[in-house]
């Protein structure tokens, strides 16, 4: 079972909140924001994703 599913199933509260899914979504959205900034030609930096990216739950 994935870390995401495990976190979702710790307790009724984490299941109701979807803790693992919520965390993975935060990570996904953070990484998507970094990719968007890298692709934005109106922004100087192009190393947002490479320097500030966060590993998926499953990669830990």
């Amino acid at each position: 079972m994935s870390h995401e599913d495990n976190l979702n199933r710790i307790s009724p509260a984490t299941r109701d909140v979807g803790l693992g899914t919520l965390l993975q979504e935060l990570i996904d959205q953070h990484n998507a924001l970094l990719a968007k900034l890298d692709a934005d030609t109106g922004v100087t930096g192009t190393d947002y994703a490479s320097t500030l990216g966060i590993a998926d739950l499953e990669d830990r």
């Binding site: 870390h3 495990n6 922004v43």
Partner: protein, 166 residues
């Protein structure tokens, strides 16, 4: 907040390193805000000031040190005064960064409306000739760092004059 506790609370949390994940999210989000502030092509300059996460984290030592001026330089064009501070993010309640006075030989000149980048204020000043002796004064409580520590008054700080104007 002791996030490390979450690494040990349940086996599932330990396997996912929940505390580490949350801390990394917080740290990298805050780092992103600083990077956006530092990006000169991004219009906003207050990402970190307004969106910093977990400001009340007791494990982050409180910053009680006032920002200090580390260098003041007249550029080679004689019209640019660059002030560098030891903190990357300064705020001004008025937004004007007022209170600085440049002393050039016997004359004084008030400075206002600098261009601000990380920890640096760049003013347009009266033309300063090569060899002129310059000092800087600052009075006021308007300029503060991220923790709210005000810049102390500055009196007669040495200004490096790199002007090549004759």
């Amino acid at each position: 907040m002791e996030l490390d506790l979450l690494n040990r609370s349940y086996p599932a949390m330990a396997r996912a390193k929940l505390g580490d994940v949350l801390q990394e999210l917080i740290d990298k989000r805050n780092a992103l805000l600083e990077k956006l502030d530092a990006d000169v092509l991004v219009n906003g300059a207050n990402y970190a000031e307004t969106l910093w996460a977990i400001t009340d984290n007791p494990h982050i030592p409180a910053d009680t040190a006032a920002p200090t001026l580390t260098s003041a330089t007249i550029g080679t064009d004689g019209k640019t005064l660059t002030l560098v501070f030891d903190e990357t993010t300064l705020t001004s309640a008025s937004g004007d960064y007022e209170g600085f006075v440049l002393n050039v030989d016997e004359d004084t000149s008030a400075l206002s409306a600098p261009v601000r980048t990380n920890g640096t204020l760049v003013f347009t000043c009266v033309e300063v000739a090569s060899g002129a002796v310059c000092t800087l004064d600052y009075t006021g409580a308007d300029i503060k760092d991220m923790a709210g520590n005000a810049l102390d008054a500055i009196t007669g700080a040495a200004v490096t004059n790199q002007s090549t104007v004759e």
